[in-house]
Assembly symmetry: C2
Homo-oligomer: 313 residues x 2
């Protein structure tokens, strides 16, 4: 699993930061990429990465402000033009369906794949045998969702010594045992999966939130997550503005991460008024509460490996 930030700015694009979008790269988990928000020019940002639009399988939209959705129609069209043929699922708050339907009709856009738009509320918005995504409404000036993405436990590793000892031959039986099935050997003896596999491996959990003031829903979504992605539109001196506009300070983000017991915090949605030196100051403010927090820049990639988040390159 990797996270790549495509846009880490707030409200409007600047030369340093595009409007919101982050790609959850689940190639290693055979799920393609999932996008969270899609501000204008997200497809342009992708041109400067190794991501392929046709491999985007799901897009989750936190809320319907322009800086989170104006890149959606262009990306949906280009995905088709660039060879995308597999179904694309878009999840977002009420209104997303009407807007996309109107936009694709008015622009006469034809797609070579099935586009399914899901209008969602709080609860489980997606689940398969590998992942579960749940959502909650946050605290913003319009309805805005946060998402919690849980990878389900993976089967334990095969214990090579035990397998040899019991004489299990190489081939399909090993896969069955790894997947929890018991098997009979040729000599009629029964081998139990639990006897030849280690402990199930815990999957990762991430929370990716939309625009919000500090709120309990965020704490609940971020409970014990490996990574929390939380907005930080303001610094601690401008906390009154943050509340007024339904946004957070870097201190709010750090406090939510701490209260939720998150293992790591990546802040995004950084106002264009913060110059690079101000961002260092933002980081210091947040670190007083949550040491080791990271502030995302456009194109920054983070890897979750051996239970630790690490920035790549």
């Amino acid at each position: 699993m990797e996270l790549q930030f495509l846009g880490t700015g707030a409200g409007m694009p600047s030369k340093m930061r595009n409007t919101s979008s982050v790609a959850l790269n689940l190639s290693a988990e055979n799920e393609g990429y999932w996008l969270f928000d899609c501000g204008e020019a997200t497809q342009h940002q992708i041109l400067h990465t190794s991501l392929k639009p046709r491999k985007i399988m799901k897009i989750f939209i936190t809320h319907l402000h322009g800086d989170h959705i104006f890149g959606l129609p262009g990306l949906i069209g280009s995905r088709s033009f660039l060879g995308g043929e597999e179904q694309l699922d878009v999840f977002g708050p009420k209104g997303i369906k009407e807007w996309l339907a109107t936009t694709l009709r008015i622009t006469n856009t034809h797609l070579n794949y099935e586009l399914i738009v899901h209008e969602i509320e709080e609860g489980t918005v997606f689940e398969d045998d590998k992942f579960k995504v749940t959502s909650k409404f946050l605290q913003h000036v319009i309805p805005c969702l946060g998402f919690r993405i849980e990878q389900k436990s993976l089967p334990g590793k095969l214990l090579v010594d035990k397998i040899k000892e019991l004489g299990v031959p190489k081939g399909p039986m090993l896969k069955q045992l790894k997947n929890g099935e018991d098997v009979y050997l040729e000599d009629g003896s029964l081998v139990l999966s639990k006897d030849v596999t280690g402990e199930p491996q815990k999957g990762f959990t991430i929370a990716i939130l939309g625009d919000t003031s500090a709120c309990m829903a965020s704490v609940e979504l971020a409970k014990d997550v490996d990574i929390l992605v939380h907005e930080a539109t303001f610094d601690s001196e401008t906390g009154n503005l943050a509340k007024e506009y339904g946004h957070s300070t870097i201190t709010d983000a750090a406090e939510i991460a701490k209260e939720a017991g998150a293992r790591s915090l990546i802040a995004n949605h950084i106002s264009a008024r913060f110059m690079p030196s101000d961002v260092a100051q933002l980081k210091r403010q947040g670190e007083e509460i949550f040491p080791g927090l990271l502030i995302a820049e456009d194109y920054a990639r983070f890897e979750w490996k051996d239970d630790v988040v690490k920035q790549i390159e």
Copy 2:
């Protein structure tokens, strides 16, 4: 008058060329800027120029394909956020009104200025005492307009010698005479405007066309213009594709310019499949028919001065 190309690509953004937009800078004529088309990330392109979104006074849309309009909602919102308070007029084919209204409503966008959306057909789409803009439908896969922008004749220059000779005092009388009004001097003598002014100065004329196959409407819009901006999505080897998709080759563009008697031709809407070396070859193909034609790159600026088009910088 200056033309600055903000996006010169076709269909999708590439690293080299953004989707369609060109700014007609009428600052010197006190009309702000007029934009022609507004593909996704036009506001991002503007960040890399000296143009100010709040000075965009009119936006003309040729047709409702995404690569010509997906930057419109973001730019409209940012123009307000960046201090735009003067009325903005958007002109475009039927459907633009519904799309913009739906988009601004769904995204809860509030503007600090009046936005007036004009759904237009063929004919005069705008006229004041300085300019006249007319449109015609071109030949594309959906309704697509081309525009002809005519600057009206400017009053002739005051003839300094004559003014001295007749004893006209400095002050408001000079302005009246320049604007075609006759005046009485203090001694009761009548001074005729035509006696103290030179010939009216001819204004410039430009045609900026949308996506189109070679067609007579283009020739009519471009009749004797100073500058014709014409698409060239294909090269002369791929003319069959051009016709099929409602586009032009560089040869088509050159022939239209020649037939119309245009004084200069700038080609845009260049496919991403053409590398810089191919673009040189495109230029050669076009020059066989229309010597001196120019191919626009993103950010290229062209000035019309002393009856000649010149690229700036």
